[in-house]
Amino acid sequence: MSMLFFYALIGVGLFTLGLLALVVQPHLLQKILALNVMGSGVFLLLVALGGRSQPVVDVVPQAMVITGIVVAVSATAMALTLMLNLSRSSPGAQLPEDQSADS
Amino acid sequence: MMLADILTIILLLGGAFFFLAGTIGLLRFPDVYTRLHALTKADNVGLGLIVTGLAIQAQSWAAAGKLILIWLLVLLAGAGVSYLIANGALARGVAFWKR
């Protein structure tokens, strides 16, 4: 039983770790990975908390997470396209704010 | 304890040993090509032994067949990918280890 809460806390940790990386890391590919990790954290939290309805596991969060995984991959593909387009016009694949902080 | 159980235990432990050997090889061997060699031990023999050990315990022939199919697929993919990586490393001039 307490294992569910352990996994839920790992989910919380993944979410905030991803959030920190999203804010701090300059490269856009890192930011995309960070968003994915944040998503995984949320999914983990949802499914772990859905497991509290023993003996039968609550499947509604699981169904939502399955939808979420597919949406996450399509969003990742879109983000990667955006990143590639941006790096064609300005080198380094970084947001303007991060670049101006350099100078 | 039945004979099948004993056989399973032996096979599973053997499989685990080959996974350990593969990992140690991956960590300790000096270049890409020798590490590739270590990796295939885990792929082919390690998983093979574990699959055989579990197939003995399987409820039906179909379940055992699925286990064997999984192993064959890993074998196929492992062989193909190993060739591609070794070939690519060679073409790219990744250095051999020399004593």
Partner: protein
């Protein structure tokens, strides 16, 4: 038997974590790719053991999918990230 399965699964997980050192250290991209290939196989083995523990046969489908798709990342690596023909890279 149950004990043996879960101990072996834990052992394989530890194996996988030990192999992580190779991904962290490299040195070549091919080394990292090799390590992740080994992890794919290890994950298949872990899933098969967990399937036996929880007697949940659907987990064998997960292992089957892993076995099928393990090659894709490596092929993407070889074909795209690491072109075989140097003058073909564009």
């Amino acid at each position: 038997m149950q004990n043996l399965y879960i101990i072996l699964a834990l052992f394989l997980l530890l194996n996988l974590l030990a192999g992580m050192w190779r991904i962290l250290k490299g040195p070549a991209a091919a080394d990292r790719m090799l390590a992740s290939q080994l992890f794919g196989t290890t994950a298949v083995a872990i899933l098969l053991l967990l399937a036996q523990i929880e007697s949940l046969m659907a987990l064998r489908d997960v292992a089957l999918v892993f076995a099928l798709l393990a090659a894709i990342t490596a092929i993407a690596f070889v074909r795209r990230n690491w072109p075989q023909e140097p003058d073909d890279a564009g």
